[in-house]
């Protein structure tokens, strides 16, 4: 039985999510890249007009936020509504327990339930581990943009992924 669970984020998770956002920035060689604060996250994600949604992986015993996805809808004038995954992150010491797969699967389920036509995200080219992970999940690497690779699940791929 897994010692973590995946659930929708609540406002009290913001401190934990913010810590992980900073760790993710360090991974991307930009330790000073994060200009946000915990309060900005709370206002932008849990206020009157949320600009993003978030799901977290929570350690059942300690309550620690060991991973998260952060996502928001985007719009394609060709295919309509899609979901953009801005962050998928699992803290280093909780890796290799399929927490990442569980987070991605839960988000894909949400996209299928809510009628999104695509789930899209980007990976930096130097992030070989990330790219291997996404290739293994069956996502399509659509374009390379000077160090950024755009990955995608189509509607059919999403339906297959959650089987």
């Amino acid at each position: 039985m897994a010692d973590y669970r995946i659930r929708d984020a609540v406002i009290d998770d913001c401190e934990g999510i913010f810590t992980n956002i900073q760790e993710l920035a360090v991974h991307h060689h930009s330790p000073n890249g994060v200009k946000l604060t915990v309060d900005t996250l709370k206002r932008d994600g849990f206020g009157e007009n949320p600009l993003f949604r978030c799901q977290v992986a929570e350690n059942i015993n300690s309550g620690e936020i060991i991973g998260h996805t952060l996502f928001f809808p985007f719009y394609s004038s060709w295919i309509g509504k899609g979901m953009f995954m801005e962050d998928l992150f699992v803290i280093e010491r909780e890796r290799n327990k399929r927490v990442g797969v569980a987070l991605l699967k839960r988000l894909v389920q949400l996209c299928v339930e809510e009628g999104f036509n695509r789930l899209q995200w980007e990976v930096m080219e130097f992030n070989k581990r990330g790219m291997n992970f996404y290739n293994k999940q069956g996502a399509e690497d659509t374009t390379a943009d000077g160090g950024r690779r755009v990955f995608r699940f189509s509607k059919e791929q999403m339906e297959e992924y959650i089987q």
């Binding site: 994060v34 952060l70 943009d145 160090g147």
Partner: protein
């Protein structure tokens, strides 16, 4: 007196917006990938939870009244950067070929930049096809940064400072 007006789209504009979306898709040689319909545009853009916003360019008669048909449009929506916060992504910017070289594209981009500044957005971001040299020249002249190019899509961005400069200019 200008012979066009840039304004927020209304639900009645959807037929015309779709016509221009298809014109742009044809220009990008990807018309077969465009599955948009008027019903989807209406539901997604003008329902209770709009998924996008749209500016349209309306041509004006000599007496200042709106003539039928649109000559340009711009679709955009909020995105979120976990490093900087609220940003806007420009999905489409298009002016019909017969209305070009009047500064309409520039005026529309400027209007969108003003919206970004007014709403406290940290970035305005968009993509261009790498063979679209007219668009690339246009965006380079605007002062936006060409983030990078490898193949296919090129991503552009105005950061906070260049947004303010462009919006004011």
């Amino acid at each position: 007196m200008s012979d066009y007006r840039i304004r927020e789209a209304r639900v009645e504009d959807c037929e015309e917006i779709l016509r221009l979306i298809q014109e742009l898709a044809e220009f990008e040689k990807m018309l077969k990938d465009c599955h948009m319909t008027v019903e989807t545009l209406r539901k997604d853009g003008f329902g209770s939870n709009p998924l996008f916003r749209c500016l349209v360019v309306q041509s004006l008669n000599s007496d200042g009244s709106e003539s039928s048909g649109l000559i340009g449009y711009c679709i955009f929506y909020y995105i979120y950067s976990t490093w900087e916060g609220k940003c806007i992504y420009m999905e489409d910017l298009y002016v019909t070929p017969t209305s070009r070289h009047k500064g309409i594209g520039h005026a529309t981009l400027k209007k969108l930049s003003q919206i970004c500044v007014e709403e406290g957005c940290k970035r305005l971001q968009w993509a261009v096809l790498d063979w679209n040299s007219i668009a690339i020249d246009f965006y380079n002249k605007s002062g936006a940064t060409n983030l990078s190019e490898k193949e296919g899509w090129i991503f552009y961005r105005f950061d906070e400072d260049s947004l303010k400069a462009f919006a004011k200019n």
